[in-house]
Symmetry: C2
Subunit: 282 residues, 2 copies
Amino acid sequence: MGYAHRVDGERKIHLKDFDPHGHADVGREEAEEKTARLCEEMTELQEMLYAASQHSVLIVLQGRDTSGKDGTIRKVTGPLNAQGCGVSSFKVPTSEELAHDFLWRVHAKAPARGQIRIFNRSHYEDVLVVRVHQLVPEKAWRARYDHINRFEELLTDSGAIILKFYLHISRKEQEQRLLEREQDPTKSWKLSTSDWQEREYWGAYTEAYEDAISRCSTSHAPWHIVPADRKWFRNLAVAETIVEALRPCKKGWLAHLEEIGRREKAAIAELRRNHASAPPHP
Amino acid sequence: MGYAHRVDGERKIHLKDFDPHGHADVGREEAEEKTARLCEEMTELQEMLYAASQHSVLIVLQGRDTSGKDGTIRKVTGPLNAQGCGVSSFKVPTSEELAHDFLWRVHAKAPARGQIRIFNRSHYEDVLVVRVHQLVPEKAWRARYDHINRFEELLTDSGAIILKFYLHISRKEQEQRLLEREQDPTKSWKLSTSDWQEREYWGAYTEAYEDAISRCSTSHAPWHIVPADRKWFRNLAVAETIVEALRPCKKGWLAHLEEIGRREKAAIAELRRNHASAPPHP
């Protein structure tokens, strides 16, 4: 049993059944050591993913304000090689984006094979904030769960590995973090009256998240509920989930790279046999 | 019964059941007059589509070499206002495009609300040339029919009107046109040995087209088979199909535009009542 909770198949989940604190069988120091080791392994796996270019990786980060999306990107995926890794943030849509279907701007940012792409918020906002604030009619957002599942299947059919994380934070911890932001001059730029206003909709967001996670946890693109009240636990849970999803691909990537290597060596041997200006023997 | 044949719902069609010549109850002169009138109406409809911005229009043009895709764009949709109309040609994919799912480059070119977009070739190439020349495994192209239907449903759910045309040309007429290209110095730049080579695959393409048309004729995005051996008949058929698809929207667009007008007038009246520097009375 991992540190994050993988939601398998479409079934109704209730967030109250998941402890935002995480379980007790790991301490902070041990967790930070484990995370560091996992991040190293992640970097090695990324190198092979990049070289083999058979898969892409899409990491979706969702969660309420202060749940730690930015912190996760910094701490967990920060060490990755930027040449093969990018972050896309989805904010309030522009008028051009609104003139298209809701997946248009998201599809444009889908990772190419060999690449890791992190979505800081995502197409799920279109069944979260859009639903809570009734920005489109109910009929429209209800149809989106199916559209999302089909879209994600299109990506996985093309070699994408999709990992979706809900950073699960308690109401109390959120209050704490908002108050801290007010105290800390280096964090107060992040302050926003809307964060306090959105807290009024806590229950509506809970429902919206429960539906999104329940309806869009498919075998090809499961959701992971991450206890996020303690940052070091959250980091460990996310790092572990990513590494465990990529590790099984390693063997295939290595075989593919060896095959490429064999072909190149044969081509060089051919050059040596047939050309005056051949590469020198090693 | 229109000049083009609309394929309704998923059912198996056979191209040999459709006459590439078209029916006989219209002569060239009459057809050209009708087409001219239809193109005028199309331009008026476009203006309302643009102003109301509730729908977008996606016109997909497919057909074998020399079937008249370029000619249709020039003659039928040429008169449209370029501010609200664009053409996207899909040629051999780039390596960046190939590193994504097959709909990635296509989705990026989907029309915004208010716009008409013409696809000169399209995502259907991924179940046509790709199938005929086995550029991906059968399992991969077989899965694409469903992906295409879902993708097109995503677009129509967001207000797209999708019109797909297969320009149906006979083998004999194609030979004629290829020979003409060789004779005509102003057309010989279009010549390509691959056109003659592709003719060898006539039967395989027929099968691939029949499957694409049969499997992807949905109620939201039907295919239209256009007799294309005579260019003037082809133009009439395409023009008629476009206009008849847009005409039913006209009432709704006008109502929407009137509503916008009413609101604006009320706002101006408000200005007149309350402000010293108010606009003069008309």
